[in-house]
Symmetry: C2
Subunit: 442 residues, 2 copies
């Protein structure tokens, strides 16, 4: 069944199971491809570790070799000059350019409003305590390219870095296999976002170059943005050497709808989700069986006109469906347990449900706030936590591009009062040089 | 030389070199110990991966076995009841109890002041956009124990989790090898912080239990707190399954001082830093050779009375020293390039330097705001980024215990205006089901 209708108990065993990075199993075809590439059977993790170590050791030469072996491209020089970014922008159809610019403006406007300021607590006796907020020095944005270029992903990261005040924003995106060039629309997005350096590089080798640096690419402090499996595994392995934003996996949408929802619109939203990827998840939660059935029908009918129907059939068939819940509150609880990337509230009174939402990347309130607007132009980043990581992670936002420095400026009087406490605790921990430093102030 | 005096050029090749997780080499003794434990030569990473996989698969049974094999303890039942936490608190010397309570109060007060609120932008035409801030559901705090119990580390994490509103705060700390019990002062700190569940477990197996869960321990959403090598490697490997706060390594202090600084106090602060660990870093940056020499002398003299002199001699000998800089501004630039965990400004006008500080975990302004106060009682967490990660990471703070949910609630009018932009970008990305979802609102 393309879009099955399940009851909650049944769904908990299947559609709503908790996902996790810890449960990853790789398809045999992928493992075969890795074995062919490396001349021996390797896990994808081990393959990525090998690429990272090689680029760290041999720099540009390794970068060149892996780009050719894995992506079949020889992008040299790999830095795309700023002039070429601007030329690509000039070549773009006017309506597409305007759309990119409007999206960038709205992303910037949203994140300029996000409060992320230094703060101080001052007290005449105590002195000053607080946090200094500073932008990161250098950020690398990975942009999926090759067969499916996603200029929106570039905007959804680079524009926020710019708003945060990051000094150096670089981007890596793989060139297309045929032309060996990065597609215009990605370069145009880079020009709009104000990317300082653009490299026609992809995969784990691009992540390695940004993390460790090479002869031609200075390392960055943090790497952000979604990518394929090798990119995500590489980001995971360089975490600690640099910061990373998260490990975005296949995209997920849950729609909570009641009998007032328009089944055509609900179906359109679920189909939009499902076309991303055969691993995408699109789930409807509703107390209304008639709505579920109407959505099921609308999906089948609308599917016929869509170019990515094959992908949709696979993703909806394995990870999609409608779940019947006793009421809307239970639907929200099921969504909290799943912690979806996107949670859409297509119900008569969506604001009544908002206070119950605890775990989601983004919540889309009402059927006019549909997920596709969030993908491109609403303002918040579309890079949101997946695979249940919304339990603890946030969408990409201003906080990803700044850090805090604790500031401690106590008065001598406060220090004198606090020193005996510090000395007592230091002695309990067996650290007498700590106690001595406290005594040096008494 | 115990505490050499170097010029800046020389220091850049040695003391001030950029550190990174990517450069880790393990001492032969450690590799031998791992080989003995596992019956074959394994990297520490591979050893940790094996422990994690085993606990994930076999749960409590694996936890029991690894605790015995690695830590030589058989803590069963491993959950320490709340009553035992309270009894430990009651047994504590009154002055120590008071010191712990005062520290906890100040940590709570500081983080209650940190702004981390939901925010909304409302516009009559556009609707509502913003971020909802929610506390995490469940957090696990790792507390170093065994030979060197650090109750302050428990407070510096668990108290902040409580302020953030985390529902379930659990802690793991290894029992002492001899008694098989967790020391009173750690349990007392847990009682004061309000830890919900306390487990007498340590090492990579404790991290595995918190990340994956076992029959007796429910998994958490995020793991925080410092630990030894196996703990840190395990945190790195479970990142993605759960959130982690960072990968704290050996502690680091840089003191920038001028001729007005008291050499005894500077020496005391550097010695306090150096006693932590043979890998600790304690560096003085100063334009004043007379001060550097006076500090060198004071260190040698003060060292004699300290119980951890052996550790100090090793750490100061290999990673400590004074660096002569042309002026204070250059000293701050050198500190920014190093991105130390702690940066102490013992100069006549410390506030003049604060605006130049870009990369540090915490900045300690003036000689009365000395680092040991920050370790215990100033208020900000002493869990701060090390090994240069202050370039992109923050001290543990309220943000670690909350996450943001993007909120999108557009008016129908705004959605109608934005839908063509979204549709245009969707078509450029080849996603026609996305475009269809936008068209369904027009």
């Amino acid at each position: 069944m393309l879009f099955p209708i399940l009851d909650l108990t049944e769904a908990r065993q299947t559609l709503l199971r908790r996902r996790s990075w810890a449960q990853t199993e790789y398809p045999p075809a992928l493992l075969e491809r890795v074995a062919a590439l490396f001349g021996e059977p390797l896990t994808p993790e081990a393959a990525v570790a090998r690429i990272l170590a090689d680029v760290q050791r041999r720099g540009d030469e390794a970068l060149r070799e892996w780009s050719w072996r894995i992506d079949g491209v020889a992008p040299e020089p790999w830095q795309v000059p700023l002039a070429a970014q601007r030329e690509a922008l000039a070549r773009l159809p006017a309506d597409l350019r305007t759309a990119l610019e409007q999206a960038a403006d709205r992303i910037a406007a949203f994140h300029r409003r996000q409060p992320a300021h230094s703060w101080l607590h001052t007290d005449p006796h105590e002195g000053v305590l607080g946090q200094i907020v500073r932008p990161l020095d250098a950020v690398g944005v990975y942009v999926p390219g090759g067969t499916a270029p996603l200029p929106s992903s570039l905007l959804m990261a680079a524009v926020i870095a710019r708003v945060a005040g990051v000094r150096r924003v670089i981007a890596c995106s793989p060139p297309m296999r045929g032309s060996g060039r990065v597609t215009d629309v990605i370069l145009a997005a880079a020009a709009i976002a104000g990317v300082d350096e653009f490299y026609a590089l992809g995969g784990a080798q691009a992540i390695a170059a940004m993390a460790f640096g090479t002869e031609t690419i200075a390392p960055v402090d943090k790497i952000v943005g979604p990518g394929g499996l090798f990119v995500t595994l590489a980001k995971r392995q360089v975490f600690g050497v640099v910061g990373i934003d998260g490990l975005p996996g296949p995209t997920e949408t849950m729609v909570i709808a009641d009998v007032t929802a328009d089944p055509e619109r609900v179906a359109a939203d679920l189909l939009a989700q499902a076309e991303h990827d055969v691993l995408a998840t699109a789930i409807l939660l509703t107390p209304s069986r008639p709505l579920a059935e109407a959505v099921q029908l609308a999906i089948a009918r609308r599917l016929e006109s869509l170019s990515r129907a094959e992908i949709i059939v696979t993703s909806l068939g394995s990870r999609g469906g409608a779940v019947l819940t006793p009421d809307l509150e239970t639907a929200v609880e099921a969504a909290n347990a799943f912690a979806p990337e996107h949670l859409c509230l297509s119900v008569a009174d969506p604001w009544a449900l908002v206070p119950r939402v605890r775990h989601a990347g983004g919540v889309f309130v009402g059927e006019y706030s549909f997920e596709v607007l969030g993908d491109y132009v609403a303002g918040p980043s579309h890079v949101m936590p997946t695979e249940g990581t919304a339990r603890w992670a946030s969408p990409l936002n201003l906080e990803d591009f700044i850090k805090r420095i604790s500031l401690i400026a106590l008065t001598p009087a406060a220090a004198t009062e606090l020193s005996p406490i510090a000395a007592r605790l230091a002695l309990a921990e067996g650290l007498d040089a700590h106690a001595a430093a406290a005594q040096a102030r008494l």
